[in-house]
């Protein structure tokens, strides 16, 4: 009996399976504390949708839900680093799958390139984690928060400008 759909290569199936498993695993790291049933359902469903359509905006949902859950619970131990790695890995897997239809074989050179990029993107993770653990936000001067807020607004405006479609 044929397990795979016609034309889909095993690496593509593996990447889709990773896409399904990684965000769920990031949430499962909270065990033995069990997340709310609604959150679990939303993460599983959105992750399944993402695995089915890797090149779809629905991919934001599981990542935001998992990151939001950990943020709300304020856990800053070693598990945060693992969760960060899992979320980036899921993003990289989805990006690799988004280059073409399901029948497009995964290019090993492209996969190697994205593994390197994923590792590069992970560099800020331990830095910010250490900063959060070592620095006391109460000691920061008030202008720092104003500057941060202005920077964020500026970045959002720049992003909106850059992503605006060209009109010719």
């Amino acid at each position: 009996m044929r397990v795979l759909r016609q034309g889909i290569s095993p690496p593509v199936v593996v990447l889709r399976a990773l896409l399904l498993v990684l965000p769920c695993s990031a949430l499962a790291l909270a065990l033995p504390e069990v997340p709310d049933g609604l959150v679990v359902t939303a993460v599983v469903l959105s992750t399944a949708g993402w695995a089915w359509f890797p090149d779809h905006a629905v991919g934001v949902a599981p990542l935001a839900l998992v990151a939001g859950w950990w943020a709300v619970h304020g856990v800053v131990d070693w598990r945060l680093l693992v969760v960060g790695v899992l979320l980036v890995a899921a993003h990289v897997a989805a990006t690799l799958l988004s280059y073409g239809p399901a029948t497009l074989a995964v290019d090993p050179r492209l996969a190697r390139l994205w593994v390197g990029r994923g590792l590069l993107a992970l560099v800020p993770l331990p830095v910010t984690w250490l900063a959060v653990r070592a620095l006391d936000p109460a000691l920061a001067p008030s202008w720092l928060w104003l500057l941060t807020g202005a920077t964020v607004v500026g970045l959002l405006l720049v992003t909106a400008r850059l992503t605006r479609p060209e009109t010719r």
Partner: protein
């Protein structure tokens, strides 16, 4: 209109990176900032890698005319690759065309060269290939151009010339030059006999051993060499059976067209003049001719054959044949009017050979229900067809099943012998 659009991956990175880190800091959710920090990198480099060009994408095939089973490559041309990192091509499926990669989707980094797609038509005819979608992706998968839809192009697929060779001569060669032995004495190379020297004979034809032995000059005589007119009548009224291309089952029309191609190539190669008459709704007729260019014309005409339910069998086959031409009727012989037309040709004194191209289209499985309606209909067809062929054979028209090399040898030799017998007309 196509333009560079942000990919879902970039949108995801921007929302999580800038939004997550920003709101994490502003709202005091430092964990959110930590988790979203890697996405800031992905978003920043993705945004920065926006290409400014407006690339024009075209594709071209290496060949526009192929034989069944041969292959060609579709190559992509992009005029401006600045900022482009990856190219993806997805070719549409086309009937009776195999592609490499199998499902038509291929992608590669620009540094490794633009991806190519191989096409191999598996059946003769006109094949539409090359319809595809092309997408260009910028660095860090930030921006995408397309998918751009490219139109299909037509590929003329000539029938594979089935292996065919014949050592038999055409019964009544009638031309001036060629490789067939004439009944007349002439200046060929085929030995005819030795006779006494006569005024006007060439000195180089003197046979010295015989002349010395007999004491009188003798010369060697040879037969002239002539070409022949060969007409191929192709029955394209119906196509019985399912065609699996060159790798699978052959339908009756597959067998007919491939046999015609093989015969045409053989006769043109031996220097004969070959004509073609296609009996179909869009029938075609190619006059007698010879040479490689004429062979291409014949194969091109065969490649354009299409069956049509509206096809009406002809009352008579009007070939305008010269005396001495040989007519090969290639047909599964399922149409009574065509059989009648062939019989009329035979009665008119034309050397006619019927090449039966039914193949195994009317054979039934052993385990098929013999009383089922399709089986009964098939058996009735078979009985009627056998009867037609029997009556045609009774008129003196040989009927041979097509089986490749040497199919017509015996028949043509018999026809050649018959042609040499003096005829008495009533």
């Amino acid at each position: 209109m196509t333009s560079w659009q942000p990919t879902p991956a970039l949108v995801r990175a921007c929302l999580l990176g800038i939004g997550g880190v920003g709101f994490g800091i502003v709202l005091g959710q430092e964990v959110l900032a930590v988790l979203c920090a890697p996405f800031v990198v992905l978003a920043a480099v993705g945004l920065a890698g926006r290409p400014r060009g407006r690339p024009e994408v075209t594709a071209r095939l290496d060949h526009r005319r192929l034989h069944e089973g041969q292959g060609t490559t579709s190559r992509l041309e992009v005029d401006d690759l600045a900022g482009v990192e990856h190219v993806t091509r997805v070719a549409a499926r086309a009937a009776h065309v195999a592609s490499q990669p199998t499902y038509g989707a291929v992608g590669s980094l620009v540094t490794g060269g633009l991806p190519t797609i191989g096409f191999s038509p598996r059946r003769w005819g006109r094949r539409a290939v090359g319809a595809e979608s092309v997408a260009l992706t910028s660095q860090w998968a930030g921006w995408r151009w397309g998918p751009v839809h490219l139109p299909e192009t037509s590929l003329v697929v000539q029938p594979m010339t089935a292996p065919y060779d014949s050592r038999a001569e055409v019964p009544q060669p009638d031309g001036l030059v060629g490789r067939h032995r004439s009944r007349r004495v002439g200046s060929g190379t085929e030995f005819e006999g030795i006779r006494l020297f006569a005024t006007g004979d060439r000195l180089k034809r003197i046979n010295w051993p015989v002349s010395l032995r007999t004491g009188e000059l003798h010369v060697v005589t040879t037969r002239a060499e002539q070409d022949a007119g060969v007409w191929l009548v192709v029955d394209a009224l119906r196509d019985i059976g399912v065609s699996g291309g060159i790798d699978g089952h052959a339908s009756t029309l597959d067998l007919t067209v491939r046999a015609a191609a093989a015969l045409a190539e053989h006769h043109v190669r031996t220097g004969d003049r070959v004509g073609l008459l296609v009996v179909a709704a869009n029938g075609a007729r190619v006059r007698l001719g010879s040479g490689p260019r004429h062979l291409q014309r014949l194969l091109g005409t065969l490649a354009r054959i299409r069956t049509d339910a509206r096809s009406v069998p002809p009352e008579r086959l009007d070939l305008g044949t010269e005396s001495g031409s040989v007519v090969h009727v290639l047909s599964p012989m399922l149409s009574t009017p065509l059989v009648t037309a062939a019989a009329s040709l035979q009665r008119g004194g034309t050397s006619l050979v019927v090449v039966d191209t039914i193949g195994d289209a009317l054979t039934t499985d052993d385990d098929a229900n013999r009383l089922a309606l399709p089986t009964l209909a098939m058996r009735m067809q078979k009985v009627e067809r056998d009867d037609r062929l029997r009556r045609l054979a009774a008129l003196g028209a040989p009927v041979v099943a097509w089986h490749g090399p040497g199919t017509l040898d015996t028949v043509l030799q018999q026809l050649a012998r018959r042609a040499q017998v003096p005829r008495v007309r009533a």
